[in-house]
Subunit: 203 residues, 2 copies
């Protein structure tokens, strides 16, 4: 992947196959679909390029290595989660319930869910993908959440809250254990919200 | 895998390569290592047989299909977890803390941890492995736990407790987010135990 022919480096030529308006977005969409369908290990720049109808060199040009393409795909997949820290800005009264509603709202949407399952699966099975996921989730999400908390060791608390939400997501949406997989989401929120509230506010 | 030559069916011949005392245990050990190293998708009966120093037909003879070999490997990996239900038999006073100590005691042991990580990774990335895992964990572990609970919807409650423990395990031992990955296990137990206590006992 690093041994590209020299002519493919630099700005894409006007004649580069598939270059043109919307190419970047098409590649990103194809990357998300490829990582979702095949996981990090099996996904390839070539496959992503083919699905986007562009030359593999154009994928490299816009995003760099496979690791960097994965990073960009994660970023898009987590966009809906990016307003999670805003939940905390509204104060700590019932922050557990608001956080649970925001988190499970994202997961209950089948389109968003498919992308998140793909990211989680890749992060859990490939060390490079795990490092990208860690860097992104830590830097962009958990640190912002922790910055709003007024508890001892706020990053640790933010991670414990994340662990409860990720655990439910794994068993409900990925492994699909019953009755959790088909339980009313309100029943889950009713029990999980006080857990999050305690982690995020208890002194 | 199902098209074995007829001579390989039935009891293994005395001349079957690798047959003999301890062959079953060697195969099981090799299967656990193979699933741990390669995951369910990439693991093969042939690879397991080679590592155990036996003929692939002997693996089929003792365990059946790859799915069944995986089931047997899960069973051995979860043996230490099988006394988790006993934690509940001692009553519900501080059951949250006792359960957390039992669960994290198993995970803090590097040998047991490697096997559990392997099982989880396989279950999260392969639907057949997920079904085996679900069947085993549901039938053997969570139903026994639920049977000891005196709460509304005990299976749901047992799964919520499991989700909190699995979530911490994923972020601490698999994805390794900091500070959770290197936090003192006592600090984790102190915050997680009341969560488990509430899920398992609150009316």
């Amino acid at each position: 992947m690093t041994a590209l022919p020299p002519r493919r480096r630099g700005r894409p030529a006007r004649t580069e196959a598939g270059a043109g308006p919307g190419a970047r977005e098409r590649i990103l969409e194809a990357a998300r679909a490829e990582f979702a369908a095949r996981g990090y290990d099996k996904a390839s720049i070539r496959g992503i390029a083919k699905a986007a109808g562009v030359d593999p060199a154009l994928v490299h040009h816009y995003f760099g290595t496979k690791e960097q393409v994965f990073g960009a795909a994660i970023e898009v997949s987590f966009e809906p989660a990016m307003n999670v820290p805003d939940v905390l800005l509204a104060g700590t009264d019932e922050v557990g319930e608001r956080l649970a509603r925001t988190f499970f709202g994202i997961w209950e949407n089948p389109a968003t869910r498919a992308q998140l399952v793909a990211v989680l699966r890749s992060a859990l099975t490939n060390d490079v993908a795990a490092a990208v996921f860690r860097g992104f989730v830590l830097r962009r999400l958990l640190e912002r959440v922790a910055g709003e908390l007024n508890v001892p060791d706020p990053k640790f608390r933010a991670e414990l809250a994340a662990s409860q939400m990720v655990g439910v997501a794994m068993l409900r949406y990925v492994v699909k254990v019953e009755p959790l997989a088909t339980a009313d989401i309100e029943d889950i929120i009713a029990l999980v919200a006080p857990t999050l509230q305690r982690y995020l506010t208890e002194q």
